[in-house]
């Protein structure tokens, strides 16, 4: 039991006053001292260590010292303390029980006989859920509106094949693609692909003896690259993580496609020679006109996967 405020304080020989204040230790959160005062003699209040307390009973604190020793305890100096309301010490208030007994306030009349408190609590939560739940789907749809745009299978003119002079060398073709996004005015963005005038050998490596089919989102074949057309076009997007790669000369590997981001390296056929890429470069549908005019379908595939997943 903690010494109560206003308890009488008795030394071994006589009563010396009452507990006027209690001092807590901020680290152990225990009472370290009681302040004894009000003995009528008008002397200073004394600060008595808790270790001097012999016994605490209801309304009485017995010390193990004679009253003559009380004078030897230091006088209490109020300036050296703050109240527990003026300081923030975690969990301190839970350890303070210096009032004698509980301090109460009445429950309002109207609250005394209310049954079904749990019912009302659950009812409140249900109303909250009924407000929130119907909103979830519309909000999700609202945010998802632009996420799954249909694929565009239109042909784009990107230049003339007579720009390519040498076989099996990557040549970059830059072109403008018209985009119309939601409410925005139609705009043109710069894009690029790499085109190869392939030698029969390279062509064989790219097509492996088979024509190459391209599908729309329903799986219907929309175009087939014939294996005897000597032009191969690769999407400008690196299949590793979507950066733009370049045609570069490599000290060991010779002329290669190299992506500066994570250093994936591909040969002219698009095959991965080195680096982290999970699949070869993505070949795109290509159509070469009689005058050498090149048209492609601008497709993009998800990067970082072993198989192709078309997203544009």
């Amino acid at each position: 039991m903690q010494p109560q405020l206003k308890s009488k304080v008795r030394c071994t020989d006589r009563e010396v006053g009452e507990v006027t204040r209690v001092i807590m230790d901020p680290l152990s959160l225990q009472i370290s001292h009681i302040v004894v005062g009000g003995n009528g003699a008008g002397g200073p209040e004394r600060q008595v260590p808790a270790s001097t307390i012999q016994r605490v009973t209801d309304g009485l604190v017995e010390l193990r010292a004679p009253s003559s020793e009380l004078e030897s305890f230091p006088a209490f100096k109020r300036d050296e303390y703050v109240t527990i309301h003026e300081v923030e010490i975690a969990h301190l208030e839970e350890h303070v029980h210096v009032e004698s007994g509980e301090v109460l306030v009445p429950v309002p009349e109207l609250e005394r006989n209310v049954k079904r408190r749990a019912f009302f609590a659950n009812f409140t939560h249900s109303i909250g859920i009924l407000i929130g739940l119907p909103l979830a789907y519309p909000v999700l749809r609202y945010l998802m509106k632009p996420m799954y745009a249909p694929l565009d299978n239109g042909w784009i003119k990107i230049g003339n094949a007579n720009k390519i002079k040498t076989d099996d060398v990557g040549v970059q073709f830059k072109y403008k693609k018209k985009v119309k996004e939601a409410f925005m005015p139609e705009a043109e963005v710069d894009k690029n692909v790499w085109i190869l005038k392939a030698s029969p050998d390279t062509l064989e490596k790219v097509y492996k003896g088979k024509d190459m089919d391209f599908q729309d989102q329903t799986g219907r074949v929309i175009w087939t690259n014939k294996r005897d057309v000597p032009y191969v076009v690769f999407s400008g997007k690196c299949p590793h993580l979507g950066c733009g790669y370049k045609w570069r000369s490599h000290k060991v590997l010779g002329q290669v496609f190299l992506c500066p981001c994570h250093l994936s390296i591909y040969d002219a056929t698009g095959k991965v020679l080195d680096g982290p890429a999970p699949r070869p470069l993505d070949a795109l549908p290509i159509r070469v006109g009689p005058s050498g005019e090149i048209q492609i379908i601008d497709m993009e595939f998800k990067a970082g996967t072993r198989s192709q997943t078309r997203i544009v």
């Binding site: 230790d25 901020p26 680290l27 152990s28 703050v82 309301h85 003026e86 300081v87 923030e88 010490i89 975690a90 969990h91 945010l143 998802m144 632009p146 996420m147 799954y148 745009a149 830059k174 985009v179 996004e181 939601a182 925005m184 005015p185 705009a187 963005v189 710069d190 894009k191 690029n192 400008g236 590793h240 993580l241 979507g242 950066c243 733009g244 500066p260 981001c261 994570h262 250093l263 680096g275 982290p276 890429a277 999970p278 993009e300 998800k302 990067a303 970082g304 996967t305 072993r306 997203i311 544009v312």
Partner: protein, 364 residues
């Protein structure tokens, strides 16, 4: 003193009677710091300071910035080249984000090394980890807003990485991009996340972080007897606040200097054709970027391992830390696994960052 309060005193008394200001102030400032104030405890306050400065400069930038694909670049250039002191505010905001990341690393390291995540402070640590995620998300979303090539490509690659998350990756990536490729919808989304969602989340969680910190009380030093700690204990004000304010001034001067010496310069406007630009993320993501170049993280599975599983497992380990490491020992010199682990992580980050920088030379 004639006993009559002055008009100012009367106003203060009037407000205090109704608000309880003096008690709030006393509670804020009179927090005993076990073992006394230290320079090691400045990081949390510095983070708060940096955040406030980011909020102020960020709001100012929004007076001119337009989050649209056809105006974001032009409006940012306008801030940089036309608006008085626009270059300074934008550069402060830019370098402030780096300061924030540095300070988060310092703060987490201090808490880790002092063993301050242990019981009863597990919740503070968990909320702190969420705040760490928010700070990184701030960096990632803010990076896109100037809409230059650097911005566009960091986002392209960053979102492709998220796409590799099993099951929800595709949805997450499309949700963030607002479509299959980065464009206006991406800019709108990153903008609203950067200026509304993340600040609200950060303020809420930082409030909770502080509340939990006050509830548990400061951990104090990891060694010293009860009597020693008690003898050295002081209040948060004035000694700790003095140290905090000195540190904040140092941060302020450093960020200002960086803004002056190395002001923000934009690259070409964003476009899906990188041209001669070699994409690279902000410096604090460089180690992850370099990590993904490693041969062991090649292929579809390797990429999942390096980009998702490894960082994910690391964060999960940090979250589980206070529940795995239940020994009450806080002295870092008696926790060899923790010390060595911290050193390995820090050294790896430095090595990978430096090698990413060295690698730049070989690309041209």
């Amino acid at each position: 003193m004639n006993g009559q309060p002055t008009a100012l005193e009367a106003i203060v008394a009037f407000v205090d009677e109704r608000v309880g200001l003096k008690q709030i102030q006393a509670k804020m400032l009179n927090e005993p710091v076990p073992g006394g104030s230290r320079w090691a405890y400045i990081f949390g306050s510095c983070l708060l300071f940096i955040f406030i400065m980011q909020a102020v400069t960020g709001v100012l930038l929004m007076f001119y910035y337009v989050p649209s694909a056809d105006h974001a670049y032009a409006s940012t250039q306008y801030i940089l080249h036309e608006v008085d002191y626009g270059w300074f505010l934008l550069s402060y905001h830019f370098w402030g984000s780096s300061a924030m990341v540095m300070m988060v690393f310092a703060h987490m390291s201090q808490v880790f090394l002092w063993g301050a995540y242990k019981k009863p402070r597990e919740m503070i640590w968990l909320v702190g980890l969420a705040l760490f995620g928010i700070v990184m998300a701030f960096g990632f979303t803010g990076y896109l807003l100037p809409w230059d090539q650097r911005a566009y490509w960091a986002t392209t690659v960053g979102v492709e990485i998220m796409d590799k998350t099993p099951v929800v990756g595709d949805f997450m990536a499309r949700f963030l991009k607002g479509g299959p490729t980065p464009g206006q919808m991406t800019l709108s989304r990153f903008f609203v996340i950067h200026v509304m969602v993340l600040p609200a989340a950060l303020m809420g969680l930082a409030g909770l972080h502080l509340f939990l910190f006050r509830k548990a009380g400061p951990a104090g030093p990891f060694r010293g007897t009860h009597a020693e700690l008690k003898a050295k204990t002081d209040y948060f004000f004035p000694r700790q606040i003095w140290k905090d304010i000195v540190a904040m001034s140092a941060v302020f001067i450093t960020v200002c200097s960086l803004a002056f010496i190395e002001p923000v310069v934009l690259l070409e406007e964003a476009t899906p054709d990188p041209g001669e630009y070699h994409p690279e993320p902000e410096w604090y993501f460089l180690f992850l970027f370099q990590l993904l170049r490693l041969k062991i993280f090649s292929g579809e599975f390797g990429q999942f391992l390096g980009a998702i599983a490894l960082p994910g497992a690391f964060m999960a380990l940090l979250a589980a830390l206070p529940f795995i490491d239940r020994s009450p020992e806080r002295n870092i010199f008696k926790r060899p696994v923790a010390l060595v682990g911290w050193l390995i992580v820090m050294i790896s980050i430095v090595i990978f960052t430096v090698s990413a920088i060295i690698n730049r030379e070989f690309l041209d």
